[in-house]
């Protein structure tokens, strides 16, 4: 089976570990070989959280620079930081709602210009899907559902070997009962946003 390599980056607390878990469960459900790794030591203290997910017949659980087929980012400046994981054939999905690091919020650093960032990513990769995932998550009922919005956009690309139905089933069975409806709605909004955009 062909290998698909996906990197997810986020800021601690944005819920990317749950997003990875949903994809892992959906892969188990689909009988697709999956291996993932994550670094989450100091995440709760405001650092960057990165997950690597490898679908198909590979043994490695991590992804080298330039070798991600897909980059999903929960935060626009982190998209730029992780861009060296991509090559010119990679597809990038990013939330456009910034979560500026503390140095920026107190005026000691400059946050990259979002329009310029998108132009650069478009120029360097095969496709960019960029939208405000926080807005859609809020629309779905909770700002916490940003992860599900982005999973929806990811499903729309059809690059990972998982069906939309299996990801939805994993959301139903692996996320908190009280959040399932919101999560499914968020997933759907993300899917539609990716269809419309870029």
């Amino acid at each position: 089976m062909d290998i698909t390599r996906l990197i997810i980056v986020a800021v601690g607390g944005q819920g990317n570990l749950l997003a990875s878990k949903v994809l892992g469960e959906a892969a188990l459900l689909s009988g697709v070989p999956v291996r993932m790794s994550e670094i989450h030591g100091m995440a709760q203290r405001g650092g960057v959280v990165e997950s690597a997910i490898v679908f198909g017949n590979a043994e490695s659980t991590i992804i080298s620079n330039g070798e991600a087929d897909l980059l999903v980012s929960f935060e626009p400046s982190e998209t730029l930081r992780a861009l060296n994981r991509c090559n010119k054939k990679s597809v990038v999905i990013t939330n456009l709602s910034p979560l500026p690091p503390f140095t920026v919020t107190i005026g000691r650093g400059t946050y990259p210009d979002l329009a310029e960032a998108q132009r650069l990513i478009r120029e360097k990769t095969a496709r960019l899907i960029a939208f405000d995932a926080v807005k859609l998550a809020t629309l779905a009922g909770s700002v916490m559902a940003v992860n599900m919005v982005l999973l929806g956009a990811l499903a729309q690309t059809r690059i990972i070997p998982l069906s939309t139905e299996n990801i939805q089933t994993a959301i139903q069975t692996r996320t908190k009962k009280s959040f399932v409806d919101i999560n499914l709605k968020a997933f759907q909004l993300g899917l539609e946003a990716a269809e419309k955009g870029s």
């Binding site: 800021v11 990875s20 878990k21 892992g24 469960e25 892969a27 188990l28 070989p33 999956v34 291996r35 993932m36 790794s37 994550e38 670094i39 989450h40 030591g41 100091m42 709760q44 203290r45 405001g46 650092g47 960057v48 590979a58 043994e59 490695s60 659980t61 991590i62 992804i63 080298s64 620079n65 330039g66 070798e67 400046s77 730029l80 930081r81 861009l83 060296n84 994981r85 991509c86 090559n87 010119k88 990679s90 500026p100 690091p101 503390f102 140095t103 920026v104 919020t105 107190i106 005026g107 650093g109 400059t110 946050y111 990259p112 210009d113 310029e116 960032a117 650069l120 360097k124 990769t125």
Partner: protein
């Protein structure tokens, strides 16, 4: 029911490496488990802790790794299958026990897990604990994948019983924190009660006994060598006259590289999973038909040294390489592309690497370093210490925990750090040879772990320093594990006692002991002033619950503050506290109410009294 107790042999489950290891132990009928928490091993013990609350599995958070190993060694020598879990540097703490426990051996299976951390994602060094196998003479097993981790853990108990010696299971972060699908096996029944049979001439390590026991250990190493030679964990894959010897996660990268480079009919791979003792005959036989050999292992050239020695003994002269400036480094962790590149280079295989996008024209991205949380009481304590010590020349030996982050500006509280407990010890030396005021910083759990001997030393030898115990009522950094100072009743856990740090340090003979509530800055500053003026050893206990922990216990006041119009933009709040709840908007200081926990420390720092609680 805990998911790792699922009794459905053959069922498939998506598991974290650490869950897979815990499940392997459960399947092997482990009955007694102990640990001191440490990343990347922590989730193994967290699962044991949870399982112990709903089954007859015994689990304890011990005060440090040495104690944890002693506790487990006694249980295992009483006939109960036991496991002891620690991070790699924890093995140094347990090493005194380990070295002679290898002489004494074990009756029931005893597995010691050490989780190494190449690249130091959350550690102070990247030591390669395979050398503990050589040093102690004990067997080392190293899994390459999440599912193999389960299998090896279970087998480790059997090997331990066969050799009557503890077995070391050595993982790296990318095993502990990887996730994959694992097939469940049968769960063996737990035998939770044992009996200790007296046998002092084999158990009491006086010199006359130990001379005999060392001989026994050497015999056991020979038996282990035979097991290593027959072990299915040491296997050969593929054929060809180019040889690769690898272990752990490197095996994954090697397999992917060999497939990517279309070398499957030219390269044979020897995967070493039983790495101490090294399988001498297997390696010699493997080398014989190789034209060239590459050793791929993260960390130190542990296997490479043995392989080269075996080749010399066998009179083999083919090139054997591994660590060198041109090939693999001893630094950090490996990745698939690096391994592919080095295999291609060493075996002269043409290869085009993937081209990462050019990032030279990407604007500079602001860093996102980890920071003390909004409202963290450590920040308040650090600020109070700085105020109390204003104008003094100071040295701040720091220790291991969240508060280590205090070394970053603007707090800049942390001048020297080696390992767990080192603040209390190093402070003695600094205070003796310098004329500066030494103020050492240590967390509650770290104090119990290994700060106590340093403090007793300071009292006995009459050193002059202040030890600030940052008592946030939990072991925060590794995920809020209990420690001896924690109120377990509050967590609804029965059967524990609580140790009072205040009574403890007073009983040690510390001349000046005071307890502060760091959110009250004025009182804290004056108490700290008194303590640092005291000649001799003084202790400040800064007592306030970790905000994340308080939040999880639903104890946060949840009363956010805001900046009123009285603000004159001195920005002392931002420049001196750097609490992440602050932000600047239109040149004005603001507080993010969803991050603010209402600690009110900034309100006390503001020279205009411009920060007030939000009215609900």
């Amino acid at each position: 029911m805990h998911k790792l107790l699922t009794n459905e042999p053959g069922a498939k489950m998506l598991l974290l490496g650490n869950e897979s290891i815990a499940r392997g132990a459960i399947e092997a009928g482990v009955s007694f488990t102990s640990t001191y928490p440490g990343t990347p091993s922590s989730e193994i013990s967290l699962n044991f802790f949870q399982i112990s609350k709903e089954s007859d599995l015994y689990f304890e958070y011990s005060t440090n790794e040495k104690v944890a190993l002693e506790v487990a060694a006694a249980a295992a020598n009483s006939g109960v299958r036991s496991m002891c879990i620690m991070k790699h540097v924890g093995m140094n703490v347990a090493a005194d026990t380990l070295m002679t426990l290898a002489y004494v051996g074990t009756k029931a299976g005893l597995v010691i897990l050490t989780a190494d951390d190449p690249f130091m994602f959350s550690s102070q060094n990247e030591q390669d604990n395979r050398y503990y196998g050589k040093l102690s003479g004990l067997t080392i097993l190293e899994p390459s994948s999440v599912s193999e981790a389960k299998e090896m853990t279970a087998t480790a108990f059997a090997i331990s019983e066969e050799l009557q010696e503890p077995v070391i299971l050595r993982t790296t972060t990318r095993i502990n924190h990887s996730t994959a699908v694992v097939e469940l096996g049968e769960i063996k029944e737990r035998k939770t009660k044992g009996d200790f049979r007296k046998d002092p001439f084999n158990y009491v390590t006086v010199p006359a006994v130990s001379r005999k026991l060392h001989e026994k250990l050497l015999n056991n190493i020979r038996k282990a060598e035979a097991l290593s030679g027959l072990s299915p964990f040491n296997f050969i894959k593929g054929s060809g006259n180019l040889g690769i010897i690898c272990n752990g996660v490197s095996y994954n990268y090697v397999q992917d590289a060999v497939a990517d480079l279309h070398l499957t009919d030219q390269v044979k791979i020897l995967r070493i999973g039983f790495s101490h003792p090294m399988p001498e005959k297997t390696i010699k036989a493997f080398l014989k038909d190789c034209r060239k050999v590459l050793v791929v292992e993260e960390g130190e050239p542990y296997m490479e040294e043995s392989v080269k020695a075996f080749a010399q003994e066998a009179g083999l002269t083919m090139p054997i390489a591994g660590k060198s400036d041109a090939l693999f480094s001893r630094l950090f962790e490996y990745d698939p592309a690096m391994v592919r590149k080095n295999i291609a280079a060493y075996f002269d295989i043409p290869y085009l690497s993937a081209q990462p996008v050019d990032t030279s024209d990407i604007p500079e991205i602001p860093q996102r370093p980890p920071n003390l949380c909004a409202g963290c009481s450590h920040r308040a304590t650090f600020y109070a210490i700085k105020q109390a010590a204003k104008g003094m020349e100071t040295i701040y030996p720091n220790d291991i925990g969240c508060y280590t982050l205090g070394f970053l500006p603007p707090l800049s509280m942390g001048d020297f750090l080696i390992c767990m407990g080192s603040s209390a010890g190093t402070a003695c030396g600094f205070s003796q040879v310098t004329d500066k005021k030494v103020i050492a910083l240590i967390g509650d759990s770290t104090f119990f772990h290994s700060g106590i001997p340093g403090l007793i030393n300071a009292v006995f030898n009459n050193h002059d320093y202040t030890l600030v115990i940052l008592d946030n009522r939990t072991t925060a950094m590794t995920g809020h594990q209990p420690n001896p100072g924690v109120d377990m009743d509050e967590l609804n856990f029965e059967g524990y006692n609580q140790v009072s740090i205040e009574k403890l340090v007073t009983a040690m003979g510390v001349g000046h002991v005071s307890v502060i509530r760091p959110y009250n800055l004025k009182k804290s500053i004056s108490a700290i002033k008194e303590a640092i003026e005291y000649k001799g050893v003084s202790v400040i206990i800064a007592k306030e619950k970790c905000t994340l922990y308080a939040k999880s216990l639903k104890q946060l006041k949840d009363k956010a503050f805001y900046v009123t119009d009285k603000c004159k933009n001195h920005r002392d709040c931002i420049n001196e506290l750097a609490c992440p709840a602050f932000f600047i908007q239109d040149e004005k200081v603001k507080i993010n109410p969803s991050l603010c926990v209402g600690c009110a420390v900034c309100a006390q720092v503001c020279p205009e009294n411009a920060i007030l609680p939000l009215k609900k």
